[in-house]
Symmetry: none
Subunit: 182 residues, 4 copies
DNA sequence: AATGAATGAGATTTCATTCAT
DNA sequence: GATGAATGAAATCTCATTCAT
């Protein structure tokens, strides 16, 4: 069994993904993690701090994905690995939304530094995508190509979620994957 | 001066756009509309009912936009009118997010009928886009082309918001607009 | 159509009988009477005043019943007319409770003069019952016999209501009626 | 000092007895129990849940009374113990009403399951009374005799309350007690 | 470190009553 | 007389956070 801190992050991640940050109560998270409510504050000084840890966890998840994609040498193949990873999560994304996009959007409205942390969920992707396009010789257009890819993926998540349509979502991702070769 | 009911919808729309539905309190809305809190309940039986009115308002806004786009006869031009309308709102979208996508996504996690109402914000767009592509002779691919367009716009909104980058947002929309001709 | 004042009393009587006084809202009464809410205050200066009018109405109803019972000359027959009247209302009493006992009990907890008015619902019965027993030569035991009768009727109402059992209720009332002859 | 949960039930019982359920506010109960209002919700998830606990408490009280009555072997004596217990509470019943009948009647108008819970206050009495009459050889008339007894007691409570007349109340109960021997 | 309990600010909602016309 | 609208006090309930042990 994971230690309490990790269990809390894991549970918070699940509950936030399912309900959104504002609708998530610490009581729910504590119960899901089988940790007494009062104890949450031993590990995290506030609800915000717990959310920050969730973001860190997701960023780490993305970095792990990128690392595994780097086993490919061709940047196009690397990007396709990432797109495939989204496709592999189609069911959950279509049911609950994108764990990166959802949270980034919701936290964006705050003036905390949680808002800034939320943006990392996108910037870490944008940066890595940019690096790949640069290796493809895109030069100064690399950043733009990266933004286009991020937009395409996130748009598919949002629309797939609204219509709960995994088939549509996958079709869109395959299309994105195909065009990466152009 | 608008009548109170309209002022409440207008204020709720603003506040929800700025804060999200969950973080919106009726006290805030009432204050923004200069209406005493208790009076809100004379016009709307619940917070949810007010949100439903906001959604209706936004759907009407979209229909108005579509009606004006229909002054063009060429479907491609019509679609470009719509894309341009998003472009024209770049500053606010980049600051607060897309008023349709944001709300649709947040409400999607509920099991109310507010969730269903939220989805209308997308389906009304998808339907109209589909009709245009059909007139272009897209046949059974019309729905898919419509979904692609919706994804592209929404993706741009989400990423534009995260990076508060109106230039990026506009670039993306112009690109979308250009490709509509292909 | 009754005039508004009477319609309000009639509706208030119905709604109070169905929901109890505390759970009755003037909005409900106004709607039931098809009278605009604001207008209620033209006819009654407060919710309490409306309830007082309802009590007056019910007291009048009882007096009418007594008057009709007085067409009989035998006091025992007179009392049996009254008991039969309760029996005739078995269905509604078993569904909603006794319109006299319910209200008397609920209002009893106040320190208004509504409490005193509520008690009239019982005292008017007690007085008339006492008068009949006195004519039967019960002498100073007349008051006690009257109280016993009132207790018996009200007990049957309360228990009939709790178990929603009209048959039980009627059996009890017939038993009471029979014993009146002893 | 009782623990808080018990204090809350005790206070709620008192306040509900004094004011009725609808007119009881949790603020009043909390103050009476010397518990901060917000803390009430740590022990009971809603006002209804607190009322349900009050009912449980009263049902338990009745069962304790029945258990002590069962120290007598003669069913008639047992029933007289119960009637005496009501008589011993004459002052409070005449001031506030019967804690079982009042609540049962008020809750009866709801469509919650609180209504059903309220009915238990009577059914637990009816069942035990029936068992005693059955031991007396009443056969299938046992249930009817039990209902008659319950009606008699409750009628006395209701009328005793309306006239705030403890002497009348006691006279009625003694009469009931005497007739149990017939 | 751990935890059940406590706290209080604030959110939604209700409603008798009053106001303006 | 009539009425739609307004008002504000108060009720129920929620929850992040803190406390006492």
């Amino acid at each position: 069994m994971l230690d309490k801190r990790d269990r809390l992050i894991r549970s918070a991640s699940r509950v936030i993904h399912a309900n959104g940050y504002a609708a998530t109560t610490l009581a729910l998270v504590a119960k899901d993690a089988a940790v007494p409510l009062g104890n949450v504050y031993y590990y995290f000084k506030s609800k915000e701090a717990l959310a920050a840890a969730v973001i860190d966890d997701r960023v780490a998840e993305l970095r792990t994905l990128f690392a595994s994609a780097e086993e490919e040498s061709d940047p196009v193949e690397r990007l396709r690995v990432v797109v495939s990873a989204f496709e592999a999560s189609a069911e959950i994304i279509v049911a609950r939304g994108c764990p990166y996009g959802n949270l980034s959007q919701e936290l964006d409205k705050r003036d905390d530094d949680l808002a800034a942390r939320g943006r990392e969920l996108f910037s870490v992707q944008l940066d890595w995508f940019t690096a790949q396009f640069r290796r493809l010789g895109a030069g100064r257009k690399a950043a733009d190509a990266a933004a286009e890819l991020l937009c395409a993926i996130q748009g598919a998540c949002l629309v797939g979620l609204a219509f709960k349509d995994a088939a549509l979502f996958k079709r869109r991702l395959r299309d994105i994957s195909r065009r990466l070769g152009d």
